[in-house]
């Protein structure tokens, strides 16, 4: 019993930096926003009341995507005090793709690859304090990538 207790304790210590109990994860993950099936539902889940178009946000994505399963998107925010960048695609089954939260030490910049169901605008919503700004890029999708 003693030995087993030791092994368990050691294992727990080793894993503590890595494992997050499911309940804790559920508290962090914005279920309402990610499971919303409309763009309005997703932005409501993110508590965005109104987003202002901004030329200080760049969304880079291809004009045409042969396969919607993999569409590379690059988002840069040059707005001082950017705290988060959310990526949304209106015509996807669940429009909210990702929400990146930046702390000191990271630039408000991200490149990732997303799935697109059909031709739509890839929109970035940038959070600056309690204000939200947006920019987008239209991507023509030739093959549904949402399975």
């Amino acid at each position: 019993m003693k030995r087993r207790g030791f092994i368990l304790a050691t294992g727990a210590a080793l894993l503590s930096g890595m494992l997050l109990p499911l309940r804790a994860l559920a508290a962090v993950w914005n279920k309402a926003a990610f499971e919303a099936t409309t763009l309005a539902g997703a932005t409501q889940g993110l508590q965005v009341d109104k987003e202002t178009p901004s030329a200080d946000i760049t969304v880079n994505a291809p004009d045409r995507a042969e396969n919607g399963a993999v569409v590379q998107v690059e988002v840069t925010s040059r707005i001082p005090g950017t705290e988060a960048i959310a990526i949304v695609v209106e015509h996807n089954p669940t429009p909210l793709i990702a929400n990146f939260l930046f702390a000191e030490g990271a630039e408000p910049y991200v490149v990732t690859r997303i799935k697109m169901a059909e031709t739509a605008e890839v929109k970035a919503i940038v959070k600056v304090g309690s204000r939200y700004f947006t920019a987008g890029k239209q991507v023509e999708v030739l093959e549904n990538g949402c399975g």
């Binding site: 930096g17 994860l25 569409v71 669940t94 990702a98 910049y109």
Partner: protein, 105 residues
């Protein structure tokens, strides 16, 4: 589970370019397999990136991130030898962690 994450952090001027490739099916829960059965949702929900133990970026993901997720981020204030760690957690309670040192670009 370090095999699940491939990453590189290179100091380029004032910024460190972090590139991360994770191995994960990212199943939406809507796809059907060859037997016409719906494949249950299985996707990464949370990715945490830290520099020398301090969280610099937290990403929450839905099912719209492509299979085998890819990320590039830019970190500020890192030096060669500083440690960058990436941890992901998925909707089934699985997770992976990988840590590397910043190298000269």
């Amino acid at each position: 589970m370090a095999d699940n994450i491939k990453m590189r952090a290179q100091l380029k001027g004032a910024l460190t370019e972090l590139k991360v490739l994770m191995t994960h099916p990212m199943e939406t829960g809507r796809r059907k397999n060859d037997l016409d059965e719906v494949v249950p949702a299985h996707f990464i929900q949370l990715v945490t990136i830290s520099l020398n133990g301090k969280v610099v970026t937290e990403a929450q993901w839905g099912t719209g991130i492509s299979k085998n997720p890819y990320l590039t981020l830019h970190l500020r204030g890192a030096k060669v030898g500083d440690m960058v760690a990436v941890v992901w957690h998925d909707n089934r309670g699985q997770s992976a962690r990988h840590e590397i040192a910043v190298t000269a670009g």
